[in-house]
Symmetry: C2
Amino acid sequence: MDIEVLTIGTELLLGFTLDTNAQVIGQTLSAVGVRIVRRTTVDDDPRRIREALERALAQTGAVLTTGGLGPTNDDITKSVVADLLECPLEFSSAVWNQIVSRFAQFGRTPSPTNRCQAEVPRGATVLPNPRGTAPGLWMEGPPGLIILLPGVPREMAGLLRDEVVPRLKRRSGETPILSLTVRTTGIPESRLAERVAGVEEQLPPLTLAYLPSLLGVDLRVTARALPEVDARRTLERAAALLESCVGHHAYGRDQDDLAAKVLATFAQSGRTLAVAESCTGGGLGWRLTEIAGASTVFLGGVVAYHNKAKSTLLDVPPSALETHGAVSSQVAEGMAIGVKNRFDSDVGLAITGVAGPSGGSPDRPVGTVWFAVANDDGVTSQVVQLAGNRHEIRIRSSQFALHLLLDSL
Amino acid sequence: MDIEVLTIGTELLLGFTLDTNAQVIGQTLSAVGVRIVRRTTVDDDPRRIREALERALAQTGAVLTTGGLGPTNDDITKSVVADLLECPLEFSSAVWNQIVSRFAQFGRTPSPTNRCQAEVPRGATVLPNPRGTAPGLWMEGPPGLIILLPGVPREMAGLLRDEVVPRLKRRSGETPILSLTVRTTGIPESRLAERVAGVEEQLPPLTLAYLPSLLGVDLRVTARALPEVDARRTLERAAALLESCVGHHAYGRDQDDLAAKVLATFAQSGRTLAVAESCTGGGLGWRLTEIAGASTVFLGGVVAYHNKAKSTLLDVPPSALETHGAVSSQVAEGMAIGVKNRFDSDVGLAITGVAGPSGGSPDRPVGTVWFAVANDDGVTSQVVQLAGNRHEIRIRSSQFALHLLLDSL
């Protein structure tokens, strides 16, 4: 089955808003074998929305739109569709009641501007949206299939998964496009390519893509036009082959998060963790606590941003700070031991570095970051030179720290 | 001047990768009056890349591509363009030397797979890329203008700003599309719309868009087809009008960050800050330290994730934890006072809440978050009920905390 995606919003065309929905729609539809034949973006102009809808319906017969269902004046998608299909908008008390009860959940009452969100083109199927006030709409008629979803990402994603995919699956009988990702970190793309070179010849009919990000390089293998069972088996074999080339730099698959992997590995051995952060300012703690249930492993941490805090809260001897400076093996090790003792954890990890843009020196340029791990056997430290701007150095530091924790077990 | 954008990468079409470049290109080009007439995405297939290039050149005469310039086998954009323009690829020692010295910066040597990145179609202008190994390319010929940029976001953005925009500005004499954003937080979109309703009629010829996110709702006013001086004056007036309607919920403009605003305001009054975080796990510290120079204000914090740490590191009486629970006014206030004392800061802020998905109870459902601010005058606390999943509640908590700090001064 083919479909077009029409993204509505002036802010998208001008780049004011990041189009995260495009990614979610691409992933979700390709996983069920629905092929997106074109993605078009238009602004909040009724004439251009109508034109794009008519073209998509004439050429492909199915279109999924996002955006323009909110309570404000620039939200006009629904009325354009109602005009196009000649199905007048009608007030739905059922939808209105859902809106009222959603507001009540947060101790509020809807305002008059929300009333238009309860209007539905005659004959449309309402797709309930438990995450927001604007429901999705599903309309089938002589010109084809029109699916309207709100633009707010989490509402769009929920409706797509819970309401749209099950309905599309019933219509589509095609081969899904399946993929599997091997996530790597701590190894640059070109070196990874050399390690993987030998394997690449064995991969077809699969294709391999390198997807670099601040967290590392993902290796994605994709199967098309293979029956689902064969595709899954071939992908699994390819992933295992890639993982054996990449060694300990491969830390997971698909959406696996390194922080979750660290927590799971610590939990398995019943160990607890505390972290002392300087240049990452709390970012490592944030990543660990993004994972629900982190509290069984992660006891907490100290953000020792000011040097004085490294002494008063982490017991780093002021003499070590004076002699070696805050970005040094001695201070990193002192912080790791200090946070382990203060939290009475099995493992203490410390990060101290120069995130920039200022603060660098010839022997400690921006990007110099010291890491230390303390456990009952003692403490070890290492230094890394990381590339990028302040934000990138900090993200890379937290990822490096997580990989170090995984390797330390 | 009109241009087409061609985004190359299978991973984009299938939604494996988020297309952040689309946003940056939209913003950057519209700010200099270059209109994007279409955005197309194709996969890493030489035939389809060529077809899309030919169509863009025939219809618009100018195309900017991103992606496919890396060192791996799926990076084929350059050879397709070389074929299309009949300009053979030639090895450039100048480009190669830049690649070698970039690797040397990080103590590495390029691998043989990097050599192809030094190949340049004959006659192309090389756009130097100090942020990565693949340079951009600028080619003008009978079929039109072709600009090739790498897909890695920071490299693309740097080349666009430093190399492409100055060249495009020389060619284009058009009216820029200008906009100004008023950033708000702590007020829902529908309530904001009511406050702003009276102003909306005074805005034309400007247009107003509501852009909700986890951080709040941005109000964006946009001017088109106005001379630049008039546009800037009209936008300025509109923004001031909107800010007066919105009151203290308006915290900044355009890319202003609430954390930066808090730091600047503290710095102005010479005050220092320390934070005690439970459910945000370090996220508030991370946001504050994303800002270079945070250290003059932000001394650090304690991530008291485990209850024991609230007592041992923040001096919250264990009896308060037992009697009232960790998510309570008493514990939030104890944490704020404790962190202020431990860091000897002027202000201490504390966050403790139920981020979910588990841990909620009838009287403290998921999303219940207590905030406290301690200063030399004493301590105050308040509770908020936040919507969303774990991640969203945590982001909203850190934003609410920052707004509270701003209001507290």
